[in-house]
Amino acid sequence: MNFTLLFLFSLLFASSSSRWLAIMSPTITPSTPDLNVTASQVVNQELALASNSPLSDFLQETIALTRRLFIQLQRRPSTLIAGIVQPIMWLVLFGALFQNAPQGLFGEDVSYGQFLGAGVIVFTAFGGALNAGLPVMFDREFGFLNRLLVAPLASRFSIVMASAIFITTLSLIQTAAIVTVSAFLGAGLPNALGLALVAAIVLLLVLGVTALSLGLSFSLPGHIELIAVIFVTNLPLLFASTALVPLSFMPLWLQWVATLNPLSYAIEPIRYVYLHSDWSLRSVVMQAPWGTVTLGGALLLLVSFAVVALLLIQPRLRRSLA
């Protein structure tokens, strides 16, 4: 666990200049206390502040805020552990539920285990992203956010950015775990390009849902309300998607709902890539009651979903953070 995190850390920090790596391992050297603000020091300080470009300031604060979230995760890893154990239990237990279903029910030569993998990947990423707003909400409630807001941040969107980086990283770790386990359970493994597509789809969905959750965390009065919204969103959206059963199982009205549910647009392409090695952007991945959806079309919808979600929360974030 720690090893994975350390690896992630170094990825994160290597991406900026190397001076940040040194922050990771603070060493203590004795130094004399000196709070005397002499004129020259003030000048030095102003020069130092003036010489930073807005971009490097933004990077500095974003990295520091992201680092805080990863330190929290490292010291309280239970959410990540639960976030990996839970989907694996889904795969094993829920996968066993339909084991004796007649052959061909989920497609030719497709076992329910193979069918379910894509659903669990998307459902897990979705659940994680829905919770993205919770840490921000707690920071608002405990007043920690005010500590950030009185600081001369280059842009307060670094606060949102840090959360987004954190959540997408977690989702990718979870996805990797699910892909690995379902491979062992016999669902097979897409090729490298297929895996990249799976990662891209997860990222797009997580980005959109994270944005909505962060928007909610600034709109709702407290964490109780946020948790309530998460509760009423999470499972209904799961059951009204193609995560657990194919469209053909559903009554017509539910087919309509499921084919308008963004989750299905993430699930079906991943499922297709799992089941077909010869996929392309023109492959038809979903037969909706109102027409067919190609892999490219599904991707386009996910991109639009993320963009719309990001735009939708701008006014709210600007009111709280600008």
Binding site: S31, T32, P33, L35, A48, E61, R67, E141, V150, P152
Partner: protein
């Protein structure tokens, strides 16, 4: 030289509640300025407007000549804000919190490390630096807050009720520390509803009540303005009323005595207001002796800031606290503090 903090005719409403109606004050560089008033008087709202946490409805706020509304980022660089009772992230160590703080103020790494070590040892936090802040006592948390607020060397350190909930030792330590900062030229603006805190620390004070500044100046000037010294006199431990009345008429005839009140709640002791800097104590004792009255106890004191508050509002700070406590809406206040 521009004042360290300039607030002119500040107004701020929350819904239908006017939190700040008319607050003007000027903090000179290098002084400790106290904002005194009961809970709910508008002190915290004033500080939140100053520190760019909330936008004022009207009025001018400047830090070292920089408008906080027009140039919030420049103003934030010059301010260090230490809020009341804000828990640090419990999972981080003290050092990690300071590292975060340093990055939020964009200190270059080398300078940050040097300054973190400096503030840690200045506040005696070295041995706790690598422990999680969740294990810190209230006094330690306050010290860490001070360290965090000073890291970027602000022109003005702003503290909201810096010693609420602290034990006496930590409280004295915070006072000493703030005095030390003043020696080194840092301007300090603090709010308090503790009279003795403002009295002990502040070079100048503004007394705020129901969103309005009702008096401001040096504590000694304010106290001089409300009149003479206070003398508490007990003829016996419990004096009969007739005897107290007799002493009262006797003392009222003395030229140095301005006012005499019999306090029946305190065993008919006498509360006197006398001209300041006179030999009133000796004169009173002589007069009592000549009339054949004993003296059980006698004490002279300067008027307190509470007397200033009393003179301006007609009630004591304690009474105002109790009245305000009954009217507070904890939920609304929590909402105001949430961004």
């Amino acid at each position: 030289m521009a004042p360290a903090v300039l607030i002119e005719k500040l107004k701020k409403h929350y819904g239908s509640v006017a939190a700040v109606k008319d607050v003007s004050l000027q903090v000179e560089p290098g002084e400790i300025f106290g904002l005194l008033g009961p809970n709910g008087a508008g002190k915290t709202t004033t500080l939140q407007c100053l520190c760019t946490l909330t936008e004022p409805d009207a009025g001018r706020i400047e830090v070292s000549g920089i408008s906080v509304v027009e140039n919030p980022r420049l103003a934030r660089q010059r301010l260090g804000y230490i809020a009341q009772g804000v828990a640090p992230d419990k999972v981080l160590t003290g050092r990690e919190l300071l590292q975060l703080q340093a990055a939020l103020y964009h200190l270059p790494r080398a300078i940050a490390k040097q300054r973190i070590d400096a503030v840690l040892s200045l506040l005696g936090l070295d041995t706790y630096a690598d422990k999680k802040t969740g294990t810190y006592s209230g006094g330690l948390q306050k010290r860490l807050d001070l360290a965090a607020g000073l890291l970027h060397r602000p022109d003005v350190l702003v503290l909201d009720e810096p010693t609420v909930g602290l034990d006496i030792e930590s409280r004295i330590a915070v006072w000493e520390f703030l005095r030390g900062l003043r020696e080194q030229g840092t301007t300090v603006l603090l709010t308090s509803h503790y009279l003795e805190e403002v009295d002990a620390l502040a070079d100048r004070v503004a007394i705020i009540d129901q969103g309005v500044v009702i008096a401001s100046g040096r504590p000694s000037d304010l106290k001089d303005k409300v009149g003479g010294d206070r003398i508490t006199l007990r003829i016996r431990e419990f004096s009969p009323l007739e005897e107290a009345e007799k002493a009262k008429s006797l003392l009222q005839s003395l030229p140095a005595v301005q006012e005499v009140i019999i306090n029946s709640a305190q065993g008919n002791s006498l509360n006197l207001v006398v001209q300041p800097q006179t030999e009133a104590l000796a004169t009173i004792q002589q007069a009592l002796q000549a009339a054949g009255l004993p003296t059980f106890g006698i004490a002279q004191s300067r008027p307190s800031l509470d007397d200033v508050y009393l003179a301006a509002t007609g009630r004591t700070l304690l009474d105002a606290e109790i009245a305000a406590a009954g009217q507070r809406d904890a939920k609304a206040e929590r909402k105001q503090n949430m961004r």
